[in-house]
Every structure is written in structure tokens, then in C-alpha cells.
Amino acid sequence: MATESTVVYLGEHTETWPPRELQRPSLGTFALVAVTLFTFAFLYVPIVVLVFFSFNSARSGAVWEQFSLRWYERVLSNPRILEAAMNSLIVALLATLGSVVIGTLMALAMERYRFRSQPLWDGLLYLPVIVPEIVMGISLLLFFAAVRLERGIVTLVISHIAFCMPFVYLTMRARLADFDRSLEEAAQDLGANEWVTFRRITLPLLMPGIISSALLAFTLSLDDFVISFFVTGVGSQTLPVYIWGQIRRGVTPEVNAISTLMLALSIILVLISQLLQRRQRV
């Protein structure tokens, strides 16, 4: 490995393909490829199996009968599922809106001003990332009970904003750190007042960050089960809470169909976020 001469690296490192270790396949490379393939298989096989069996006409378990869309029909004609999906959507949209506005404003304050309590807020904004969601769920349950706020859509939205906001904040803070402030000074220099500068320069340039944090918040809200489970009320079940109830009750092929639909939604959201990122890079 060590050579007699000591090369001094001056140039930029160039990407070579295939990487040097692949040009001479070694045991190490083989192991890397094997572990990677195994991991992706591990991640995807259960999902693919689930999707596969969602098209099975059989009522029970994993014996294939024939291709059928009957469970999808059942899902789409079940008013309780549609209501739960609607609840999830409403909560996710409101939570996204709320957390993006609040989180962005806070990131602006923390990035662009200096005040004494800053380290305190910095620590506090990391806490929701470290505190297990079950603790957050029960503490919110106790809080809503203590202030006698009836559990429902309102408590769901409040809670979802609370756990989405720190993630929006962290995303926006990173984007703001990269923001070239001389662009805003240039706008002011050219006669734009604070509001026009914000609308014409700051906001459009932050838009990619705002969109990706909105997608993140939307997904976090749609995915959440544990916190929703504790703060949801009768008649305001979100989709994950409904699914949980069905799973607990036993084998229901309907759950396979709902899961497949939710998976499709996730893929669409990932595609959107990837497309947005790609457009940004151009």
C-alpha cells in the first residue's frame, strides 16, 4: 500500500468509472455489492409481496386464488375509509401550511438576527427530534385533557404542526445559511423597499427550500400514527389510525389494498421532490 514516493495532490480529484476497485474486482467489492443487493431485497420484498397479494381475490392470507380488484372496490366504497383519508388529507394540508409558515419565520429570525436567547431556542428546536414520539403523543394527550380541548381535527392539526415545525425549521435554516444576502442588499440598493425585496428576491429564491420542506412536512403528517393515535377523537380518525384498528382486528385484505394505495402516493411524492430537485440543479 505505502509507496516510497509521497505524491502531493494538487489537482482536483477526478471521478473514474468504474471505480478503481471495480476494475479489479476484489473480495471487498464483491461483499459491498452483495450487501447492497441483499439490503434492497430485504427492504423491497415485503412491500412487493404485499402489493402482489392486494390483488388476490382470496379472503384469507397468502394463498393465491386469482387476480381481482375486489378489495380496491371495497376500499373505495367504504365511507369510513374515505372519511379517514379525507381527515388525513385535511390535517396534512393544514399542518403543512402552518409548520412551513411558522418554521420559515423562525429560521429567518434565528439565521439573520442575533439575540441572547438564541442558544436556548436552538436546543429546544432539536428536542422534538430526540424526544420519542410516544412521549410527545401522551404529553399532548395529557395537555389537551388538562385544558379540556376536545380531541378531534383541531388537536390533530395543533400536534402535527408541533412535530413538523422543527423539521421545516432545520431545512429552511440550512437553505438560509447558503443564501447570498448581498442579493437583498442589491435589491434595496436599486430602490426596492423591505417588502418588495422580500416578495421579489427573498421569497422566489427560497421557494425550492420552501417546497421541499412542505413536501417533508406533508409526508411526516400523513405518515404519523403514534402521535395521532393519542390525540385523535372519535370520528376524526386519520388513515393510519384506521389501518391500525383494522390490523389489530385481524386479517383484512382491505388493509393490503389501502397500503398499496398509500405506497403509490409515497412514490408520487418522492418523484415530485426528485423532479423539483433536478430542475433546481439545472
Binding site: E185, Q188, D189, L190, A192, T197, I201
Partner: protein
């Protein structure tokens, strides 16, 4: 119209416990190409930002065209800035960038269009009007930034190291172009740079900054030939310093005693008998001879090294304990290697008192 385009009266700017600008007073004349020169962190950029309105003075007052600006926000000041990073709006085309200032003033569309094209023609880029900034080279971006500021016809154009990001060749071209442009349109340019050559070649007057203070304001000639303190002499060009004590001041000249040797030079500001001072003499203003013609400022030295650099021969000689740089112009064309002194030889160092300055710190 006031005599001065910009005035700073006793302006101080403090950031936390750092004094960035320290009681600066200066007047920038109408239609002048004015450079603020100094090492990084000397307060020149902060001064520019104070004039633009991005910072508010802690104490003191700034006047633009004779009127105090007080707390006027930047967007209401009749000055425009060319930023070091150009700060072109990445989400707008060149046209939209250049037109932004006029749009903010509510200029009618037809006039806006006309003036934008005029400005782009001024910087010779009308063909790139629909491009985005990231599709252009550094030099082109720089010109767009210039057009974007000039199109507003400001009283004063502020330039914050506008050539800093360009390569050496482009830099030289742009220096010339900027100077020509300033003469053509006849507005005041205030130019921040750390490059002394750039400042000397372009400016009508230069303010030399150090640690938040203005040390000297003068024409390039004055700054180079008559620096008023040790820092300015050292920062602008090359010079030799000989430290000692002033023994006598008479008729604008001073006598300096240094390690048993006596030197005579022009007396700088605040030079009085009995105080420590330095003699500053530039390498091209010193001569090496075989026999001295006068007894003033003439001492025997040992030649340490000789480097031929084409136009000059650069020699280092040792005077007592100290090395002195001497640049002799190669005014005779010869191939004889022994034409000049060789290392190890003894020579006489000499310079007339008019060529040297005796300065305090």
C-alpha cells in the same frame, strides 16, 4: 450642487466590541474617481456600506450631495452599488436584472426598455439581454452588474472590489474600461480595493485605510512620493526602512541618527528632534556606485545578491546589520556579466536627501 458628492463627518461604526470605522472624516469630490485602499479588515468596505445605507453609523454623519442622509434606507438613496460578488438576481434575465431599479421607480415600460438597452450597449452586452446570469462568464456578469447600477443614473456609483473575482488579464482590461466609462458618463465613482496598483493607476485620489482610520488622502503621486506615515510608505509600493532617532529638523529636512550613521531626508509630519523615526527610501531611488560623489547619505555596503529581472537589476546589499533593496534600471544594453556588481563585492550606497522621507509611526 455641493462641492462634495459624498462627505463623512467623524463617522464611527462599531460591531459588538470591534471598531470597524474609527472617526473617519473625508470628502469625495463631484465627478471624482475615488479609491478606498487598505488591507482586509481596515474599514474600507464598511465605509462603502455606510454610504450605501446597508449599515448605520454608530456616531457621526454622512452627507450625499451636501444633504445629511441620516437614517434614509438604502432604497431611498441616490447611490448605486456594484457588489463584489456582483449579486445578480439568479432568477431574472440580464434584461430584468438591469431593469429592476427603473421598475422600482415606476419608469414607463417603453422608456425602461430603451434605457436598459442603452445601458447594455454601454457595457457592450446588448446581445445577451435574454440570458440568465449563470449562463455568462465572470467578466460578462461584472458588466451586467455595472449596467444594472448605471442605468439608474445615480449621483455616486459605489464599487466594492468589482474586479476581485476576475483573472489577471481581464482585470487589466476592465481597469481601463472602468476608467474610460467614468470619464464618459462623468459621475462620481467610489472604488474599494486592496490592490495598490489598481488604485494608483485608476484613481484621481486615494484614501489609505488602516484599522478603521483614514491615514492619508491624496493623489496617487502624493501617496507614493510623499506618504505621511510609516504604514502608508510600507503599504504602497516597496521601500527600505532605516530606524533611528531624529537629531535635527531644518528647512523641511530632518537628520536621523542610526547606529552611528547619519542620514538626511525630507521631514514628514510630526517629525521633531529627539523622537524615534524611520527613514524611508524606495529601492529605485537608491544608487550603487564605486566612489561616492557626496558625503551625505553615502555608506559602504556589501553586495549580498544580484538578480537580473529584465528592466531592472535587483540587488540586496548589507548596511551594517541591515539589508537594503536597490533596483538599478538597466539603461545600458550589454551582455557583459561583469558589467554590474557581483555578490561579495563592496560598493557605496548613496541617495540624495530629496529622495528619502523621515517618518513617524
Amino acid at each position: 450642487m455641493s462641492e462634495f458628492a459624498v462627505e463623512m463627518h467623524n463617522v464611527t461604526k462599531v460591531f459588538g466590541d470591534v471598531v470597524a470605522v474609527d472617526h473617519v472624516t473625508m470628502g469625495i469630490r463631484q465627478n471624482e474617481f475615488f479609491a478606498m485602499l487598505g488591507p482586509s479588515g481596515c474599514g474600507k468596505t464598511t465605509s462603502l456600506r455606510l454610504i450605501a445605507g446597508f449599515e448605520r453609523p454608530t456616531t457621526g454623519e454622512i452627507f450625499i450631495d451636501g444633504k445629511p442622509v441620516g437614517n434614509t434606507p438604502p432604497f431611498q438613496r441616490d447611490v448605486n452599488t456594484v457588489f463584489q460578488s456582483y449579486a445578480l438576481f439568479p432568477h431574472m434575465t440580464v434584461e430584468q436584472n438591469v431593469g429592476f431599479g427603473l421598475e422600482m421607480k415606476g419608469t414607463p415600460h417603453a422608456e425602461l426598455k430603451r434605457r436598459v438597452m442603452q445601458a447594455l450597449e454601454l457595457v457592450r452586452l446588448p446581445h445577451l439581454a435574454t440570458r440568465y446570469p449563470h449562463q455568462m462568464s465572470g467578466g460578462q456578469q461584472q458588466r451586467v452588474a455595472l449596467a444594472r447600477a448605471l442605468v439608474n443614473r445615480p449621483k455616486v456609483l459605489l464599487l466594492d472590489e468589482p474586479l476581485g473575482a476576475l483573472d489577471a488579464k481581464l482585470r487589466k482590461e476592465m481597469q481601463l474600461e472602468l476608467k474610460t466609462l467614468q470619464r464618459e458618463i462623468g459621475i462620481t465613482f467610489v472604488f474599494v480595493t486592496h490592490d495598490q496598483e489598481e488604485a494608483l493607476s485608476m484613481s484621481d485620489r486615494i484614501a489609505v485605510f488602516s484599522r478603521g482610520k483614514v491615514l492619508q488622502i491624496g493623489t496617487p503621486l502624493e501617496i507614493y512620493e510623499r506618504p505621511n506615515c510609516r504604514f502608508v510608505a510600507d503599504f504602497i509600493g516597496e521601500t527600505n526602512f532605516i530606524e533611528g532617532t531624529v537629531s535635527e529638523v531644518r528647512n523641511g529636512f530632518a537628520v536621523l541618527q542610526s547606529n552611528g550613521r547619519t542620514f538626511v531626508g525630507r521631514a514628514g509630519e510630526n517629525v521633531q528632534p529627539g523622537i524615534p523615526a524611520v527613514l524611508s527610501v524606495r529601492p529605485e531611488k537608491v544608487q550603487l556606485v564605486e566612489q561616492p560623489a557626496t558625503s551625505v547619505n553615502s555608506y559602504d555596503v556589501r553586495v549580498m545578491s544580484v538578480a537580473y529581472v529584465g528592466s531592472d537589476t535587483r540587488v540586496v546589499v548589507r548596511l551594517g546589520e541591515q539589508d537594503i533593496d536597490v533596483w538599478e534600471q538597466n539603461s545600458v544594453s550589454t551582455l557583459d556579466p561583469n558589467y554590474f556588481f557581483a555578490p561579495g563585492e563592496t560598493a557605496w550606497l548613496t541617495f540624495p536627501p530629496e529622495n528619502a522621507l523621515i517618518l513617524t509611526d
